[in-house]
């Protein structure tokens, strides 16, 4: 499992071609027939070049991290000849160099991406779900329920998130990855709940809700079928924009030694490992740093594209 093999080269080529095609090809023109609002949104997003490039980058990233076992030229945590190979600059054999323990930076980045992205995605999913439910219930029932629920959110929002996280981590010490995900999730849903609540407040006054009620639909059905689907778009946009944030937050915590624990790589821990010798072994920190920047940028571009597609009020002229 070291160096370049035909299988590995073939896989890399396939990933590159897929990403390239995604980036180049705009959405096909409408084929006629019934178009669901979700499909129309996706099609619209794919008309936008920045979103398309973001989607291509994220697709490639998802594929490479998922297939890291086959794509990585070296095992991520193995020390390769500690004496001879440590601190090597980028070369054909080690495209992104090796760190001071002689581990291959590219391989660690591929495995680290799996951990970093996995944490960010699951955490944001958790945050969006909790925030949507909270906001929907508050907005739908209104009155005292709404006031109490939203004052709690306001209180939570008044505490800076990083401070909150550091306080929790200081109390509990280091966390396992699932615990870290839960922590990032439960501290990230406050904004989403406010967005969803506002949207539910306006959606529940729409005539279709009255019409559904007049036809005998109950609260659960009305909230689930008639209000939420029409109030969910800001949550989707917030989630897409929030992934970049969580990614950076996780990297920051790991950099501080309070997130993912060595020897497992995450992009944040890798930056931390390289930081002490930044001038000598710059490649150890710079490549994971670039990965974080590009990934966060892509999610932000995609989020912007989704917002343009989902919220016509903010749309510049088509």
């Amino acid at each position: 499992m070291t160096g370049s093999s035909p299988l590995r080269i073939a896989l890399w080529t396939i990933v590159a071609v897929l990403a390239g095609l995604t980036a180049m090809r705009p959405a096909p023109p409408s084929a006629g027939g019934a178009i669901s609002p979700w499909r129309a949104t996706l099609r619209y997003v794919r008309q936008d070049r920045a979103s398309r490039i973001a989607i291509a980058f994220l697709t490639a990233l998802a594929l490479t991290t998922l297939l890291s076992a086959w794509l990585a030229p070296f095992p991520p945590n193995d020390l390769l000849e500690p004496e001879l190979m440590r601190g090597r600059a980028p070369s054909w054999l080690h495209l992104f160099g090796t760190d001071r323990s002689s581990r291959d930076v590219l391989s660690r980045m591929l495995f680290g991406g799996r951990i970093s992205l996995g944490i960010a995605l699951v955490a944001i999913l958790l945050a969006a779900t909790v925030g949507t439910c909270w906001g929907a219930v508050a907005g739908y029932y209104g009155g005292v329920v709404d006031s109490v629920m939203m004052r709690l959110v306001d209180t939570a929002l008044a505490i800076p998130r990083v401070l909150l996280l550091l306080a929790v981590l200081a109390l509990w010490g280091t966390l396992s990855i699932p615990e870290l995900v839960i922590l990032l999730g439960v501290t990230g849903w406050f904004d989403v709940s406010r967005l969803v609540r506002a949207e539910v407040l306006s959606a529940r006054e729409r005539e279709m809700v009255l019409a559904a009620r007049a036809l005998g639909a109950g609260d659960a059905r009305i909230l689930w079928r008639h209000i939420l689907p029409n109030a969910i778009s800001p949550a989707i946009v917030a989630a897409a924009l929030g992934i970049g944030n969580v990614l950076i937050l996780e990297a920051g915590l790991s950099f501080l030694g309070m997130g993912v624990q060595p020897p497992d790589p995450s992009w944040g821990t890798m930056i931390g490992e390289g930081s002490s010798q930044l001038s000598a072994l710059w490649w150890v920190s710079v490549f994971p740093g670039l990965a974080i920047v590009l990934t966060a940028l892509s999610f932000n571009l995609l989020g912007d594209g989704l917002r343009d597609a989902l919220d016509p009020r903010q749309l510049p002229a088509r």
Binding site: P37, M208, A212, A214, L215, A217
Partner: protein, 342 residues
């Protein structure tokens, strides 16, 4: 007289707002017989829609149906039945269609899905069954290629087709009473006629009563047997449709008829009723129409007119019933200062 299907008596619905208590519907009584079509007319804000929503008990806070109101339907009082029973009645025994079918339909589901939902709620039909019945309903409402249309979204349909979809949803369970709140106002004239024709046809087929709410007297003239005229939260006149057009009694009804364009009559300007409806938070004392009425005299400001019997089935809330000679001397509406009712 047969037992009425629906008997509304002394219905009062008020909204408790920061600006005061708005008595949107104030002591309204009427009945609808089985298979009968009753028209309800009046200008915006007169309480037509609040009356219809009260029947389905869809008045949301800060609105409230006041104690003492009774809405008898199928042997029960809809004001007091529990919410679970009320939910069973809505869409099953009483259905409603709305003015603007685009906003009354959910944009994220196909129309077939939305019609099928009614069967899923009330008949606990399986997905497949409900879908088949939805397609059947679309066919019944005269939509061509119903199986294909069922898979489309509301925004892909024309206004007339959307209203047909709404009708399909409302009639899915063959209700005993259909409340149509301005069903044709948002449609263009040729489509209006088609939709009204369709409603009449389906009414005969299903055998249901209909409460047709509109501000268009032309619609009323053709399609209903009896008309209730509402003004400022009250019934001001009720008559069989022929009587109403031939011998309208209440000055408000008279004004509405004069404001209507008629074929074969050349007029440069249509008549208008001067002024506006008073605010529901402070109805005037006496007659609520007096500020706009060309016959009003002192009694109208002092005494709130009761419903006078004019002829069989014809009632009117106007003191002219007592002093008919005053109709011979109209004047410009005069404002009689008397303060407001408590």
């Amino acid at each position: 007289m047969t037992t009425p299907l629906l008997a509304v008596s002394h219905l009062r619905t008020s909204f408790y707002t920061s600006a005061g208590v708005a008595r949107a519907v104030d002591d309204v009584s009427f009945t609808i017989a089985p298979n009968e079509t009753v028209g309800m007319v009046g200008e915006s804000g007169c309480g037509k829609s609040v009356t219809s929503l009260s029947i389905l008990r869809l008045i949301a806070r800060p609105g409230r149906i006041e104690a003492g109101s009774r809405i008898e339907f199928g042997g029960q009082d809809l004001v007091t039945v529990d919410e679970a029973r009320m939910r069973e009645i809505r869409g099953d025994r009483i259905a409603m269609i709305f003015q603007e079918p685009m906003t009354a339909l959910n944009p994220v589901f196909t129309v077939g899905d939305q019609i099928a939902e009614v069967a899923r709620v009330h008949a606990r039909a399986s997905r497949r069954d409900a879908w088949a019945r939805a397609v059947e309903m679309l066919q019944l409402t005269g939509i061509a290629a119903p199986a294909e249309r069922a898979r489309e979204y509301p925004h892909q349909l024309s206004g007339g087709m959307r209203q047909r979809v709404m009708i399909g949803m409302a009639l899915m369970m063959s209700p005993a009473l259909l409340i149509a709140d301005e069903p044709t106002t948002a449609l263009d004239v040729t489509i209006q006629a088609q939709i009204l024709e369709l409603l009449a046809e389906l009414q005969a087929k299903v055998g249901m009563s209909m409460l047709l709410i509109t501000h268009d007297l032309g619609v009323v003239a053709e399609r209903v047997s009896r008309v209730i005229v509402m003004y400022a939260g009250e019934v001001v006149e009720e008559a069989p449709v022929g009587d109403l057009f031939a011998t309208a009694h209440h000055p408000y009804t008279e004004g509405l008829l004069q404001a209507m364009p008629r074929m074969g009559q050349r007029r440069d300007r249509l008549a208008v009723i001067p002024g506006t409806v008073p605010s529901p938070t402070e109805w005037p004392t006496g007659c609520r129409f007096r500020d706009r009425c060309p016959y009003a005299w002192e009694r109208c400001a002092d005494v709130h007119p009761p419903l006078y019997q004019i002829a069989g089935g014809h009632i009117s809330r106007c003191h002219l019933a007592d002093e008919p000679e005053r109709r011979l001397h109209p004047h410009a509406p005069l404002v009689i200062e008397r303060g407001v009712a408590g």
